[in-house]
Point group: C2
Chain length 150, copies 2
Amino acid sequence: MAYHAGVDAEATLEPALQKRGHRLTRPRRLVWDALRSADRHLTAEQVAARVHEVDPDVNLASVYRSLALFAELDLARESHLGVDNASRWEPAHPDDHFHLVCRSCGEVQHHAGDLVEQLRVQLRTRQGFDADAIDLVVSGHCDRCAEAQP
Amino acid sequence: MAYHAGVDAEATLEPALQKRGHRLTRPRRLVWDALRSADRHLTAEQVAARVHEVDPDVNLASVYRSLALFAELDLARESHLGVDNASRWEPAHPDDHFHLVCRSCGEVQHHAGDLVEQLRVQLRTRQGFDADAIDLVVSGHCDRCAEAQP
DNA sequence: GCCAGTATCGCGAGTCGTTCGCAATTTATA
DNA sequence: TATAAATTGCGAACGACTCGCGATACTGGC
Ligand SMILES: [Mn+2]
Ligand SMILES: [Mn+2]
Ligand SMILES: [Zn+2]
Ligand SMILES: [Zn+2]
């Protein structure tokens, strides 16, 4: 079952853009398709590389601008995974989740659960702090790498 | 009760350096004093500014090198607080703690507690992930700013 | 469909925080 | 104090973005 990029882009991207008075342009559609069809977090540079397979004339600055816009519209999420100082991007999930980065193999696992929500509650009741964004990155060793080198 | 920088530096810094075959140099001593005497997180640039009050000839590159070395020796801790893309530095605490950054006033609160340890246990038992560093930065509104603008 | 008006683009240059290579200096040890 | 190696200062380079601007291409109304 082939992934039909264009159709999907129009289905979710276009209304989100229009609702806020933004236009659906070729660079935005291609950036969105690149993000959606990726199975992992991508740097802006990596997004650009995928976009360029389809259209080499899309500028890197436009990729950055598109990603920033998507974040603003809650279509995409930016994370600092600590591998280098480049941001990584992924389509936004509805659920709170955070990232487990393996120091050996580089794999990035997702951890979804109530933990982020628990934390939010704890901060509010115990410290009066109204948490907005919770950026949690855990680095360590994944199950496979941990048992290989204990 | 004045803070006697030199003495303190030699008391904790020198043995930590010597144990690993590093030398106690003037730039390192001044960077360490600047960190220790600060009451808040500092950027490398801010550390340099404080160092330069004592000795303007210490180079910014040496400040960066000293901070990186201190992190390696677990004498200092680097955090990305999301205010800008500059790293912030503080002397290493023995206890796990994380940071609450207020979007209104910029204040950085510390949150120490069992939460980080809880998380570590949960990741190990539920996912087999051996957590090394847990980088948690929460941005939102502190108690003062939250009640001012609810 | 076409036009007007403006949002967006491509481009090149600029910024920021950080790192590098290397010759000169400083440090710990003998 | 002499020696050898670690470390420094310096300036240039780096990577990841961001900006200003004139050119382009969307979109909504005709
Ligand atoms: Mn993710
Ligand atoms: Mn802290
Ligand atoms: Zn692994
Ligand atoms: Zn505040």
